[in-house]
Amino acid sequence: MLLIPCPWCGQRNEDEFMCGGESARVRPDDPASTTDAQWSDYLYNSTNHKGVVREWWWHVNGCTKWFVIDRDTVTHAIQPASEEIS
């Protein structure tokens, strides 16, 4: 059971959250000049890194805030990260 550090609510049980995946994913700026391969990479591919990953979490059953944490996918150790949106 993970304790997720919500920047608004503090440490809460993982059941209150949804994982939003890797935060490094960036939507291509200009869709018209983006190739199928680039779109496909943005939409479907992931780094799926074994180790520390920076990822989005959503406090869906709480304050509904989206925020970013650094989570180790092997040890499950968690560090809050600075990026956030409200």
Partner: protein
Amino acid sequence: MSHFSIFSLARNALTGHKNWEKMWRSPDPKKEYDVVIIGGGGHGLGAAYYLAKDHGITNVAVVEKGWLGGGNTGRNTMTVRSNFLREDSVPFHELSIDLYHQLSKDLNYNLMVSKRGMITFIQSSAVNRIAMQMANTMHIYGAEYRMLSLPEIKQRVPIFSPSENMRLPILGGVYQPRASMVRHDAVAWGFARGADSRGVDIIQNCEVSGIRRESGAVTGVETNRGFIKAKKVGMAVAGHGSVVANMAGLRLPIVTQPLQAWVSEPIKPVLNEIVVIRSYYGTYLMQSDKGEIVIGQGCDPYASYAQRGTFSIIEDATNAMLEVFPSFSRLKLLRHWAGMLDMPFDGSPIISKTDVDGFYVDVAGSGGFKTTPAAAKTFAHLIARNESHPLTENLGLSRFQNGRLVQEGGVSANR
């Protein structure tokens, strides 16, 4: 390889079981192979077996970082079924059931296939609709999938006694008679023995640390036992697909997620069929041949390589089971494990060429154990001929570029 039979058993019993041959050799790696398969689980060993048997390619090595069948081949719930939604999934899984049912004979190795059948409970009109859609697709491919009324379920599963206060009462069920349980270790060992006897080198404790390439084509693998040159390399790893593909400079459309299962103490036979409760979460239970009740649910909802899962899944699925089988509340749980699924975006397997010439990937997706022989056979076809087997033409990586995803509702996924 000596043939296993009632006579070999008697002969060895009379000599005190001291003269059984080793089931496979443990050779040192050669300098060069036609094909190197990374991963000595069911998929990798099976692919090597079919490369030798179907395509006559025997200069093959299977390299395994641990021991045979020690990955997800040893971390599943032994279930084989083909109740899927899409026309690309059903015939592929049907081939798997067909092969499993004849492999014990082909391999001269008892896979302990137990043809139990699977009942999925219907607890809402939405699930009923999907079950009927599945049944229609399956009937097109000759797979039997039929509705069961409540009295029929009671007759088949006498211990079935759902609580009257269930939030979603059970309205009926849908039944696949050919769903089976297969002894998981025997699959790896049977394929290993079959491949070894055809000349395949099986190299354990040999971890791949790099994939060497030259002008866009694979030339071999770096391992802790030195460089092994190879014309072709097939990746059949479970739970580390992204890690190994990354060595070839590739990114895959997968997320590694734990899939948990837990097991009670053994009891006398009470449950013949494999039973699925709340099919939208994929909570299921069955009784193993040893008498344990095996319980599981969909995979954990975030990426993890930890080979353990979150407790809320255990609590949730066990509660769901007790609503339908209250008498199981007395059982003690003995063991728990998590396999790591390389879960593709759409939940279906990926058996594909890649942008690196001569490097092929087999990503099992949600149901690695149930697809083992079909994936192995079609993966061997792809490696040998450099073109997809007809059954896996639509299961390649190209589907993530042309948008023709094979979205499966019937996978062990919470999505």
